[in-house]
Symmetry: C2
Subunit: 351 residues, 2 copies
C-alpha cells in the first residue's frame, strides 16, 4: 500500500481513524513512541524554523496557526481555545493539522488533531518530567480534571511510572469522570476537596485548568521542596495558573522563550527573567534537576515542533495500519499548466 | 439540508466538487459573484484583522499560511509556490483553505483552493482593473500563459468586457494551450512571438509568470500612455517582473502595503515610496485612474482577505448545491470534557 497513490490525493485521518490508530498501537505504546519522537525533535531544535504561533484573539477565545519546518517537512496545526465552548457541548480545544513536503509544497497528511493534541501535550509533559522530576516520583496531583487530565495521567504512568493520582477540580463531577476513566488501569486514585489537599504528598503537580484569565490555582504555601510543577493550562496572554511567588522559588524550564514570555506563567515576570530551554536540558547543554529539594517548573504552552513530531509520528503509522482515507484535495491536471483545461474537460464530461 | 449537521462534521469541498460547483454556477457568473464579494470585503477593509502572510521559504519554493478575520468569521489559506513543480507534473501553486466561526473556533468549511485561488486571483485582478483601467479597455496582453492565464482572460471578459487577448510565453506551447482553452468563448486571440509584440495595441497588460527570481518581463519602452498593468506573477521576496523605470512612471495600487513591500514589484523601490491602497479607491477615499494617459499599476501579490471572500462565497453556495461531503474532522464526545472516555468507548465497541 502506498501512502500517496496519486498527486491529487492527500491521506486523511479522521477522528474515528485516529481513535482506532491509538487503540491499535495501544495507548501506552502510542504515548511512549510519540514521546520519543517529541524528544528526538527537541534534540535537533536548531534545525527547525521557529516562530511564535499566529494567534487571532477574540472576546470568546483564540484561533491559532502553529507552523514549523525542519527543511524537509513542513507542519502546521490549526487549534482553537474557547473556554465557554464546554457549556455549549463543544470542545474547549479542537485542532487539525497538515504535514507537507518542503521540496514541492504538497501536503502529505491531513489529520484530526483534537485527540492527537491531547496525546502530544501529555507526552511532552512526561518527557519534560523525565528530566525535571525526582527520579522516584510516583504520585501526581492533577488540578483541573477536564479533557486533558486522563491523558496526562496515562503519559506519566507509561513514561515515568507514576501510579498515584490525586484529583481536584472546582467541579467535582469532572474529577469523578476522570477517576472513572482511569479506573482499572493500575492507578491509586484519590478525589480531593481542594487543590491544597490534592498536592499533599504529591511529587509532581500538574495544573491543567481552562479559564481564560489570571487565576491562582496554586499558592506559594502549597509547593514544598522537591516538587516538579507541570503547568499546562496557562496558554494564552492573560491566562496563568500559579502565584508569582512560586515562580520566584522555582527553576523554570520552557519550550520556546519568545512564545512562553507572551503566553506562559512567566508573563508575570520581567522579560529578561532567566529561564532554561528544555531542548538544552535534553542535549546536556544545560542542567535539569540538580537536587532533591529543588522546585522545578515546566512552564508549558505547547509549541509547533511538538505538533510536527505528532504529525510525523502519525504519518509513520499510516502505511502499516491503513487507517486513513484518501482526500481529493489537490487539483491534478494531466498537464500542470492546464488547470483551466481540466475545468473544460469536467464540463465536457458532464454534458 | 443543513450545512453543519453534527458538531464533529466539517463540510469538505473536493477538487471534483469545486469544478462541479463552478460549472453549475457558470464560470462567468462565478467570477462576477466572487468579484462582488471580494469588492464588498475590500470596502470594509478596516473591519479585518490583517497580517502579512506567514511564509516558510526554502531553496525550491515557499509554503505560506494566510489568515484573516472580520471578527465573526476566520479564514486561512495554505498555499505553496514551487516553480520547479511543473517539470515534475505538479502544480506550481496548490492550495486549500478553512473558514471558521470566531465565536467557538470550529471550522465551518474545508475546501480545495487550487482552482478557487485561480478564480479569486482573476476576479481580484478584474475588480482592480474596473477602477484602474481605461473605461474603453477591450484588449489585454497576457505575458505568461500558465495555469492562471485563462482565468485572467475569462474574468476580464466577464467583468470588463475585454474581448481581445494577445498571448506571449517563452514556451510557445503554453500560449497554444491557452488559445485552445479560450477558443469559442468570444475572444479574438493572437499568439505573439515576444512580449514586445504582445503589448502592441493592448489597453491592459497582465504579467503572470512563475519564475522565482528577478526577471524583466516588461521593459520601460514597452509601456505606453494610458496602459493599465496588472502585475500578478511577482509574489515573493526576490521575484519581480517589471523594470524599475516602469514603476517610476506609474501610479501604483496595492492590496496590503506591509505585504506588498516585501513581495511585490515595489520591493525594487524605497520603503516609503508612495502607493495607494486599492480599498481606498473602492470606497472613494482615494482616486484611481484620473486621466486616459496615466499609467496605472496594480502590484498584486494576493492577500488573505481575497481568500476569505472566496471561502465565504463558496460556503454560501453549499446548501443550495449540496456539492460537498462531510468530513469527520472534529472530536465530538457527548460530554466535552470526556475526550478520553470517547477513546475508551471506541475501544469497548471494537472488542
Amino acid at each position: 500500500m502506498t501512502v500517496i497513490p496519486n498527486l491529487n490525493i492527500v491521506p486523511f485521518v479522521s477522528v474515528d481513524h485516529m481513535m482506532k490508530l491509538v487503540l491499535r498501537v495501544g495507548i501506552d505504546t502510542f504515548l511512549r513512541e510519540l514521546a520519543d519522537v517529541v524528544e528526538e525533535d527537541f534534540r535537533r531544535w536548531e534545525s527547525f524554523d521557529k516562530t511564535p504561533r499566529i494567534a487571532s484573539h477574540s472576546k470568546e477565545g483564540v484561533i491559532e496557526l502553529m507552523p514549523t519546518s525542519d527543511g524537509t517537512l513542513y507542519g502546521f496545526k490549526y487549534v482553537n481555545g474557547h473556554p465557554k465552548n464546554m457549556k455549549e457541548g463543544r470542545q474547549t480545544v479542537t485542532a487539525f493539522g497538515v504535514l507537507s513536503d518542503v521540496g514541492n509544497g504538497y501536503p502529505l497528511l491531513l489529520t484530526e488533531m483534537t485527540i492527537l493534541t491531547a496525546l502530544r501535550t501529555a507526552a511532552t509533559s512526561a518527557v519534560a518530567a523525565k528530566y525535571l522530576a525526582r527520579k522516584n516520583a510516583r504520585s501526581m496531583a492533577i488540578i483541573g480534571n477536564g479533557a486533558q487530565s486522563e491523558f496526562q495521567a496515562r503519559a506519566f504512568k507509561a513514561i515515568l511510572g507514576v501510579d498515584t493520582v490525586r484529583l481536584f477540580d472546582i467541579d467535582r463531577s469532572a474529577s469523578e469522570k476522570c477517576a472513572r476513566n482511569l479506573a482499572g488501569q493500575g492507578f491509586t486514585i484519590e478525589i480531593c476537596d481542594s487543590a491544597q489537599s490534592a498536592v499533599e504528598g504529591a511529587d509532581i503537580i500538574t495544573t491543567v485548568t481552562a479559564d481564560k484569565q489570571y487565576a491562582t490555582i496554586l499558592t506559594d504555601n502549597m509547593v514544598g521542596p522537591g516538587i516538579h510543577i507541570n503547568a499546562v493550562g496557562g496558554d494564552c496572554p492573560g491566562k496563568t495558573e500559579l502565584h508569582r511567588d512560586i515562580l520566584l522559588r522555582s527553576d523554570i524550564f520552557v519550550e520556546y522563550p519568545p512564545q512562553t514570555r507572551i503566553e506562559g506563567e512567566i508573563q508575570q515576570l520581567p522579560a529578561d527573567y532567566p529561564v532554561t530551554e528544555l531542548w538544552q536540558v535534553m542535549t546536556g547543554e544545560k542542567q535539569g534537576r540538580v537536587s532533591d529539594r529543588q522546585i522545578t517548573l515546566f512552564d508549558s504552552v505547547g509549541f509547533a515542533t511538538e505538533d510536527f513530531s505528532a504529525l510525523r509520528y502519525v504519518r509513520s503509522k499510516l502505511a502499516a495500519t491503513g487507517l486513513y482515507t484518501e482526500l481529493d484535495l489537490l487539483a491534478d491536471p494531466d498537464e500542470p499548466r492546464d488547470l483551466f483545461g481540466m475545468l473544460l474537460r469536467c464540463e465536457a464530461a458532464l454534458v
